[in-house]
């Protein structure tokens, strides 16, 4: 609008409004500052409308004197008309003036009232403008002058409908094909609406003058209260703009309700391993249900929301799942380590349920009664020389269970060894007693927790004759075989490839290895260091000490068990009788045992019934020879609790109790007419030992009786 230029310089304080009723100096528009000049401009136009309507009816073509507007600096700021009417255009008709119905209340009254009013008003305005222009207060009279100046040239916007008629060229093909250059230029910035603020900051430069003017105006208002000659109150009506409805469409917002419960462990998980969780989530198949979307957005909600989603998916399990998917999943699961471990635990739990009474009895725990069914005690065999499990009435041996599986069916047990470290582990070697029909041997490591399947089983080349677990490294199991080979297996891992064997050793035993023993040997003279070494006695009459070399096991001969053909029996002297033999043939050693306190001393039992005491340092001759048995000595064992006492059992149906350095046995025991195969001391009671002969397992208690066995049980099978 053309008034924009002057708006910046002029400052208006009031806007005068035409009103239907009273004339008030409208002060309501003032906001303690300045009016928007643009608004005043617009109001001018409105008032113009009101005025022009009036004017039109009363003074249509009355020419007006040219009005010139001066501001306080006497600058000519005459506003230019909005529209320069073409001389050729028709004069505006009164009806074309834009009518402002809002300004009117009762039309006729207004016209008459205002009509009669405007004339003197205008005149008075003119007069007052000239008067007031000299005053410091810039009044709105200038505005009204503007108003009326505009009215001189009645602006009829609807009249601008007349356009020049343009000559239309016929659109031909050529015209269409013409290449027309189109120039794109940036237009000047058109400011459509600029509403400067009516507030001024207290810190600005104009603030002082503004405050002063405000005060002056306030003073003026106070003064007008009683001054009715100069100032008349008028009321003003604000005009409302025409409202227009506008419809807007937007996309519907998708709202999702998500609820979650955060638990302590959820927060802990998020804190500890968020990346791990992310990778775990990725192999999951995609799901399209809503909680998944929430999972992507917030990680804290991830765990619990996915729990919720899995629960919901379980609820509506789709039976038509992709079978290929589940198969591959099954493979994945089944092959994982954890699954195998779970299987192991599960199997043991099941067996625990089944064997609970027996296991409890073994471990001397209270037997849990099954509350819903009667307990039927199983009576199965137990191969163990324990101190006898208890029954209610009289002490008797009760078999607890049998270690048997299809692998071991039909095989004879040749040797057994308990593991020191893991007292639940029992290694059993299977082999034939007869020299003929050798079948490949088998070693099974049984756990008490599972009597139906061994934890490990190792197939050996030939029949196993003896076993022993190492003390220092309890995972190592030394196995002696019928063909003289000694192998050391590692039972820790399920992988059976790692084995050390003496197969290639040139000095290996030529006959069956009859017994193996791991013993701590003193390395240095001080006796502090103990290294473990493997000793074996074989049917070729040698006692060897084995060590691991680069190509397997290698041995050094410790002792040769020479055959003693002629034996003199002096009273109590120790004589070296071996040197009397011409042909020193080696006699098979069947068993040996090291002294528990002094590992340099060992006792060896021979095929001929002689027991030799040997020393590891003296490989040539025996320290002592004990002779009582006239059949092969099957087992020798030192007493763990009383020193210098040992037992020997042999195929002559007797068990002899010896004391070291005594030529004659202290006691001899005979129970049945069968070869005694094995004898063991009880680890806890010094006077109790167990023996196995062809018919039964016997428990002897020396405290109770020397002559008779205390407990025995029937063994159904041979051995």
């Amino acid at each position: 609008m053309s008034t924009s230029s002057e708006d910046k310089t002029k400052k208006r304080t009031l806007v005068l409004r035409h009103s239907s009723r009273a004339v008030n100096v409208c002060v309501s528009d003032r906001h303690g500052g300045y009016q928007s000049s643009r608004l005043t401009g617009s109001r001018k136009s409105l008032s113009l409308g009101g005025g022009s309507k009036v004017l039109d009816k009363s003074h249509v073509q009355t020419p007006r004197p040219a009005v010139r507007v001066f501001d306080k600096d006497d600058n000519d700021v005459t506003p230019q008309p909005l529209h320069q009417a073409d001389p050729g255009t028709a004069q505006a008709k009164g009806s074309r003036f834009f009518l402002n119905e809002i300004s009117g209340g009762s039309g006729s009254d207004q016209t008459t009232a205002t009509g009669s009013f405007t004339m003197p008003f205008s005149k008075s305005v003119f007069e007052s403008s000239r008067i007031s222009s000299q005053s410091t207060i810039e009044s709105v009279n200038e505005e009204t002058e503007d108003t009326f100046s505009k009215s001189d040239q009645p602006i009829s916007i609807p009249d601008v409908k007349l356009k020049k008629s343009t000559v239309k060229e016929p659109v031909t093909e050529d015209v269409l094909k013409e290449i027309i250059d189109i120039f794109l230029t940036e237009t000047d910035t058109i400011s459509l609406l600029d509403i400067p603020s009516t507030f001024v900051s207290v810190d600005s430069d104009e603030a002082d003058t503004v405050i002063e003017r405000n005060n002056q105006y306030a003073e003026l208002c106070r003064n007008t209260m009683g001054n009715d000659d100069k100032y008349v109150n008028r009321s003003v009506q604000t005009l409302d703009g025409a409202a227009k409805h506008k419809h807007v469409q937007s996309d519907n917002l998708v709202m999702v309700d998500a609820g979650l419960t955060v638990t302590t462990w959820d927060m802990y998980n998020t804190l500890c391993d968020p990346e791990q969780e992310k990778t775990v989530r990725s192999p999951q198949p995609d799901k399209t249900d809503l909680p998944e979307a929430v999972v992507d957005s917030s990680r804290t909600a991830e765990r619990s929301v996915s729990v919720g989603s899995t629960v919901s998916s379980v609820k509506d399990v789709d039976t038509s799942t992709n079978t290929a998917n589940t198969d591959s999943e099954l493979q994945l699961i089944v092959q994982s380590e954890r699954f195998q471990h779970s299987l192991l635990v599960m199997e043991r739990s099941i067996l625990l349920n089944i064997f609970q009474p027996q296991l409890a009895a073994y471990r001397q725990l209270p037997v849990l009664e099954d509350p819903d069914s009667p307990v039927k005690p199983e009576t199965v065999e137990q191969r163990e020389e324990d101190t006898g499990s208890s029954q209610s009435l009289s002490p008797s041996l009760q078999s607890l269970w049998v270690f048997s599986c299809r692998l071991s069916r039909g095989r004879s047990v040749s040797s057994m060894a308990w593991n020191e470290k893991n007292p639940d582990l029992l290694a059993v070697g299977y082999g034939q007693f007869n020299s003929g029909d050798q079948e490949p041997g088998l070693v099974c490591c049984w756990s008490i927790k599972n009597p139906t399947w061994p934890e490990r089983f190792i197939r050996c080349d030939s029949a196993v004759t003896c076993l022993d677990f190492s003390v220092n490294s309890p995972g190592q199991l030394a196995v002696g075989m019928h063909d003289g080979t000694i192998a050391i297996y590692n039972v820790h891992s399920r992988d059976k490839s790692r084995v050390i064997s003496s197969h290639e050793c040139p000095k290996k035993h030529l006959g069956p290895v009859c017994q193996l023993r791991w013993t701590l040997q003193e390395l240095s003279l001080s006796g502090e260091d103990k290294a473990e070494a493997l000793f074996s006695v074989g049917a070729d009459g040698r006692i060897c000490k084995w060590f691991v070399s680069s190509s397997g096991l290698d041995c050094t001969d410790l002792m040769m068990l020479k055959k003693v053909t002629t034996m003199k029996r002096p009273g109590g002297n120790k004589t070296n009788q071996t040197k009397e033999n011409i042909l020193s043939v080696l006699t098979p050693g069947l068993c040996f045992d090291f002294h528990p306190a002094d590992p340099g001393i060992c006792l060896a039992g021979t095929w001929e019934g002689l027991i030799h005491k040997c020393s590891c340092s003296n490989t040539q001759e025996f320290l002592e020879t004990y002779q009582k048995h006239f059949s092969p000595v099957n087992c020798i064992t030192w007493s763990p609790l009383s020193p210098d006492v040992f037992l020997s059992c042999s195929s002559d149906w007797t068990i002899q109790l010896w004391k070291q350095n005594h030529q004659k046995p202290v006691l001899g025991f005979t129970s049945t007419q069968g070869a005694v195969y094995d004898v063991r001391w009880s680890p806890k009671w010094a006077t109790v030992f167990g023996a196995v002969n062809e018919q039964q397992l016997e428990i002897w208690d020396l405290k109770t009786s020397i002559r008779r066995i205390v407990l025995w049980s029937e063994t159904p099978a041979d051995k």
Binding site: I333, V334, Q340
Partner: protein
């Protein structure tokens, strides 16, 4: 792999074992020796139970975790070995 199969067979052959179910992490049974309806029922119900049990254990101490769950009832015992990726469920009647 064959070992695992053999172990599963052995478990199945143990005294009193009524069924074995292997359920994947979403609660869908992938291997079972029971009939379909029982399997689905067991899988769904036990899944929720295990979640609750695990939540309980971990709420008390977040560093703890559930390793094995046994539910002894009048007629049988349900043993569950839970894990992140699977559940192994065995139903046994030990007095059989």
């Amino acid at each position: 792999m064959a070992e695992v199969e053999e172990t599963l067979k052995r478990i199945q052959g143990q005294k009193g074992v009524q069924g074995i179910i292997i359920v994947n992490s979403e609660g869908i049974p992938v291997k079972t020796t029971l009939d379909n309806s029982s399997t689905v029922q067991y899988a769904g119900l036990i899944h929720q139970l295990v979640m609750k049990a695990r939540s309980t254990v971990r709420d008390i101490d977040p560093q703890n975790d559930l390793t094995f769950l046994r539910v002894r009832s009048k007629k049988n015992e349900i043993m569950i070995a839970p894990d992140k990726d699977y559940f192994l469920i065995v139903i046994q009647n030990p007095s059989d």
